[in-house]
């Protein structure tokens, strides 16, 4: 599935505000915003950094591989999902897809469904992003 098509699919999630795909080193690959009242580039970078820290902290605290984070702020909910086909949770491997998908929601009315949808869409993009 093409990246932009994948982001379009996330628009169906209740409370959708924006979505983005990042490389594991933090470079934005694609961004989609339904609400222009905020800077998605900045939010995306912060969320992506948080995911990177989460993966590191999770491993070092013995909690294993952490691939999904939910950031709960007063004015938004942010889900960040890592897809990494490699064996090492924080490293990229040649020929294996490794990217991060960010979903920004206005509320958590359907947060469970949002996580399911994000997982589904994120994994469907792997063939496009396998290098």
């Amino acid at each position: 599935m093409a990246i932009q098509d994948a982001l379009q699919q996330l628009m169906q999630v209740e409370g959708y505000l924006a979505s983005a795909v990042f490389s594991p080193t933090g470079e934005p690959l694609a961004t989609h915003t339904a609400n222009a009242n905020f800077n998605m580039a900045e939010v995306g970078v912060l969320a992506n950094n948080t995911l990177l820290n989460a993966q590191k902290a999770s491993l070092e605290m013995g909690a294993g591989r952490g691939q999904l984070i939910h950031i709960e702020a007063d004015r938004a909910h942010i889900l960040a999902r890592c897809v990494n086909e490699g064996k090492d949770p924080v490293k990229s491997e040649p020929g294996k897809a490794h990217y991060h998908m960010i979903l920004l929601l206005a509320n958590d009315n359907a947060i469970g469904m949002a996580k399911l949808r994000l997982n589904q869409v994120a994994e469907s993009m792997a063939p496009e992003l396998r290098s």
């Binding site: 948080t50 989460a54 999770s58 909690a63 952490g66 950031i71 702020a73 007063d74 942010i78």
Partner: protein, 374 residues
């Protein structure tokens, strides 16, 4: 014997670079690490002829390495490799800091050639070193979110960046433009970059570039030196967190009931930028500093970037294979105070425990405490 240090967080690339270089140049003594912190330790202990470093790395990045190199004499030859260096950032890097900038991907021969050329030219001798204005310009161009700690002698200052925008500066009891101008005047300061920005309000009157020009103009008009200003009195200590112990006890008490039913392996209260203020259980083995830094990074300062009025609490829930990590960032002070107080509360929750219940409790508790503290 030419001694070379190579730093890159991409382990596979690093291994191939080192093995390839060693095969081509068996006389070179090459050391390599994927961790910036380890590179800093090695640089403090050993001498290298050439340092090859990536710029973007987690935790301690290439900018911190460049900053340390600037205080070394003689300064080694410096080659920076980066995949995403903006053209605007490349120019000052080449002019002020490094001998070569290699854009990834590059082939091994290119790196080998760059090292040999730099060694042959050896024109720099003693590198001028990274200046504070250069670091600030690079952070601005690379759109970084971070706190830059500046030290010169017993003086300490801070510059706060969010998405490359310099929001505020502090130097002693100065803040805003005055503090930044003061920092510009410090000679050969040491800089340390922490990947968090606790400041929300934009107090500087312009970009780093425009303020640099203004500072230079003012210095010209007054015929004042822009460096080597005599040391002033040391800045006042950061104000202590007002009720941190009380908050910690409240947290402990509130979570005690949960802890009875569900075994909580670890809880931490961390101050910015990384002191463990409280932990439980009392006999818990505490995480190392690098882990604490990563945990602090779970508490992003997202609120200012979101639409609507700002709120004091952000909570991150990490769903991992063998447990959940809950991290709450609590801003305790109003922005008008000199040093906005931020603490991070972290709980490790076993996979069998009801993480959503913990999360709800934690969120309410942090909100209540932040409201009270403000």
């Amino acid at each position: 014997m030419t001694r070379i240090l190579v730093v890159d967080d991409e382990g596979v690339l690093l291994k191939s670079l080192v093995e390839g270089l060693q095969e081509l140049e068996p006389d070179w003594e090459i050391e390599a690490t994927t961790k910036g912190a380890e590179a800093l330790r090695w640089l403090a202990e050993k001498t290298y002829d050439v340092v090859v470093t990536d710029l973007r790395m987690p935790e301690v990045d290439g900018f911190s390495i460049l900053a340390q190199l600037s205080h070394m004499e003689p300064t080694p030859t410096v080659i920076v490799m980066s995949a995403y260096l903006s053209p605007a950032a490349e120019k000052p890097l080449q002019e002020a800091l490094v001998d070569r900038v290699l854009e990834k991907p590059f082939d091994l021969e290119e790196l080998r050639g760059a090292i040999k050329t730099c060694l042959a030219e050896n024109t720099r001798g003693t590198l001028e070193g990274i200046s504070l204005p250069t670091v600030l310009q690079l952070l601005e161009m690379e759109q970084r979110t971070c706190t830059l700690e500046v030290q010169a002698g017993d003086r300490t200052g801070f510059v706060y960046f969010r998405g490359g925008k310099a929001l505020d500066a502090r130097a002693g009891d100065l803040s805003g433009d005055a503090a930044l101008f003061e920092l510009f005047s410090w000679s050969r300061p040491k800089v340390k970059i922490t990947p968090f920005c606790p400041v929300r309000k934009h107090k500087l009157s312009g970009s780093i570039t425009s303020l640099l020009l203004e500072a230079a103009k003012a210095a010209d008009e007054l015929d004042l030196p822009t460096v080597d200003t005599p040391a002033q009195s040391p800045p006042p200590a950061l104000p202590l967190l007002p009720d941190l112990e009380r908050f910690a006890k409240q947290v402990q008490q509130t979570l005690a009931n949960f802890a009875e039913k569900h075994e909580l392996p670890l809880g931490l209260v961390l101050s910015f930028p990384g002191e463990i203020v409280l932990h439980w259980p009392p006999d818990a083995s505490l995480p190392e500093h690098e882990t604490v830094v990563a945990l602090l990074g779970l508490a992003p300062d997202l609120e200012p970037a979101l639409p609507g009025a700002a709120a004091p609490v952000t909570l991150t829930h990490v769903e991992a294979e063998r447990g959940h990590i809950l991290a709450a960032r609590v801003a305790l002070a109003q922005e008008s105070q000199p040093f906005p107080q931020t603490v991070v509360l972290v709980i490790l929750v076993p996979p069998t425990s009801p993480a959503p219940l913990f999360r709800e409790q934690l969120f309410r508790l942090c909100h209540a405490w932040a409201s009270e503290a403000r």
